[in-house]
């Protein structure tokens, strides 16, 4: 707590200079508009920013998705109806992306459909195992917790460059393999191994985040429940499935929703690590949106907007269904 006091004191000292100049101004404002309007004054900056950069964009996005051309400004964009959606969904055979008019969209979608379940399952499995280990009677819990958590603080670019350096043809992983008598592998050049490492690296970078949430959930489970189970000579496994999992369920649900939403939006790490390659083997939805909207000329804002709206709708439905399930189970 002393750290927070120090931070508060320091910010207080710096803030007091302009504050002294502002106070009479604000008192004058209050006199002018009346005390009843003051809450709106306090609310206004944040509300404006929310409207301008979060709510308005949703509607602009819908507008974009129904207009064409590579022009950015809405007044210059002709209305083309559902053409963007039609081209996105236009497919000869939905199981074969190469028959679609926007084959990369379907490849990105297909990759995401494999990537998200794999990554979320691995993420939650490993995070739960780690949290359980950290929740035991161990020495140096703070140290170990820090070890698993610190990659969360690293920037995605740093994470990707770190692993690229390790995985490259002449990297240390191949060095170790060579010393053990194996052939070196060009990890990021083959589709399957690049996909595996994409999952691995993103789990490595983010599992600490979920471990912390799960650990807090585990610590909230009262110890005497386990003592009682011990009295009844319940096995470890039985205690885990009958006590830990049911009591952890609300936390697990939050972790699950967060993990899925973030997994669907994975972009930064893979953009630097694999660039979506080899070919389009690790191209996920957000990178597809970025590519068609910003990287490839001419920029196709309408198509990018349509794709991102489809993504947003999927996320929204997913979240609502999960919340409904959780509410249903907590009532019942």
């Amino acid at each position: 707590m002393s750290a927070s006091l120090r931070i508060a004191r320091a910010t207080g000292a710096v803030a007091s200079l302009p504050a002294r100049a502002i106070e009479p101004l604000m008192a004058g404002l209050q006199k002018a508009i009346g005390i009843k309007k003051m809450p709106w004054f306090f609310l206004l900056p944040n509300l404006l920013a929310v409207i301008l950069f979060s709510l308005l964009p949703v509607f602009v996005n819908i507008f974009y998705s129904f207009t064409g051309s590579d022009r950015l400004y809405p007044s210059q964009r002709p209305f083309i109806g559902t053409y963007n959606y039609e081209t996105l969904l236009d497919c000869g055979n939905y199981l074969d992306p190469s028959t679609c008019s926007r084959d990369l969209f379907w490849r990105a979608l297909g990759n995401s459909l494999v990537f998200v379940p794999t990554q979320v399952a691995a993420m939650i499995g490993i995070a739960l195992l780690t949290a359980i280990c950290l929740n035991g009677n161990i020495r140096g819990r703070g140290f170990f917790r820090g070890v698993f958590f610190f990659p969360v603080m690293l920037s995605p670019v740093v994470v990707a460059l770190t692993w690229q350096w390790i995985l490259q043809r002449t990297g240390v992983l191949n060095g170790i393999l060579t010393n053990l008598g194996f052939e070196p592998v060009n990890w990021l050049v083959y589709a399957n191994s690049a996909f595996f490492w994409s999952v691995f690296v993103t789990v490595w970078a983010h599992m600490g985040f979920y471990t912390i949430i799960l650990l807090a959930g585990l610590q909230a489970i009262p110890r005497d429940v386990y003592e009682a189970a011990k009295m009844d000579s319940a096995s470890h496994w039985r205690a885990f499935t009958r006590i830990t999992l049911p009591l952890l369920k609300p936390v697990l649900l939050v972790v699950f929703i967060l993990a899925v939403i973030r997994s669907v939006q994975t972009f930064d790490e893979l953009y630097v690590l694999t660039g979506g390659g080899p070919g389009s083997a690790t191209l996920l939805m957000v990178q597809y949106i970025y590519e068609i909207g910003f990287a490839v000329q001419p920029r196709n804002f309408g198509l990018a907007a349509a794709a991102s709206l489809l993504l947003g709708i999927v996320l929204l439905i997913f979240t609502l269904v999960q919340l409904r399930i959780s509410r249903g189970s907590s009532n019942g």
Binding site: A8, P39, L43, V60, R141, V157, T162, S308
Partner: protein, 362 residues
Amino acid sequence: MADLSLASSTGGVRNMLLGRRGRGRLHISDVLTYGYLLLGVLVMFAPVIWVVLSSFKTSAALQEFPPTLLPYSTEQVVVEGYEGTLPLFDVITESGDVVQLAQIRRVGLNAQMVDPTDPEAGRIVVPVANATPVREIHFAVENYVQLLASSGSEIWRFVFNSLFITVAATIITLIMNSMAAFALSKYRFRGDSLALVAILSTLMIPATVVLVPTYLIVAQLGLVNNLWGVILPTVATPTGVFLLRQYMLTIPDELIEAARMDHASEWRIFWRIILPLSSPALAVVAIFSILSRWNDFLLPLVVLNRREVFTLQLALASYQDENVVRYEQLLAMTTLTALPLAFAFIFLQRYITSGIASTGIK
């Protein structure tokens, strides 16, 4: 980090001594737990340590395969009559003795060498197979010096851009979020719940989904290739408002009533009473704002296209696209970019983890 863990682990040690399992007997599950945790230390730490060690290698050492753990470099000597320095080799002569010779050049499977103690003796031709470089541990600090000090070095501009965005966005976030939280926790007015719902509903709108229109609005404001173009879209964080509002609800209203009795203006109440009392929550919001803004990538990638407005992250990612990747500088820059956060983490770990555990924000 050891210092921090000490305080929290004393409880753990006491549990260990008095607990059920702790009486000298090591249960199989303890062995598995420690085994898993130690494996975790290896997998989580080793990659980062590897990058830091690599950043101290010379560019020649970086090209070696298989790579060495520590940064070695071949010892260099100055030999009379030759320009610059020459690498030193241990050479096994035909008679089986080992002598140290400096290599002038390599031709196919043979190398031309010279005895540094006796350069007059002339060139000696040695098969490469008989020569091994004389190596010493050498931390190539010059990678960092070149990166930071060379004239025309752009890195300070990137550092400035990143710092400016982080600091400005965090200050604005703190002020705006706490003002909104104050209005939504300490006043009852028409439309207050609607405003709260409007702000919190943006939790459901991922930034990636509204990337195109956000870019449009930034462009309309004339802020493309301007640092403010990546600051403004990020400042109205719903989680910050939520966290601060929940905290301010716990501050007793009597304090405000008393201040009103003393004719304090509403702003004065906010600035002098509510803000100082909310400092723990402000600290959490500040830490997360700093973390996210320092690490931001997608929005800067879209909004900032000119090199002079690049952030550290953009610059780092862009080095890859260059024709000749200078790994020694790339690695040094990677290390430097991660460094401030490593320090922040060591000092603020408890705040960060408790913040995540209670709100699930990042």
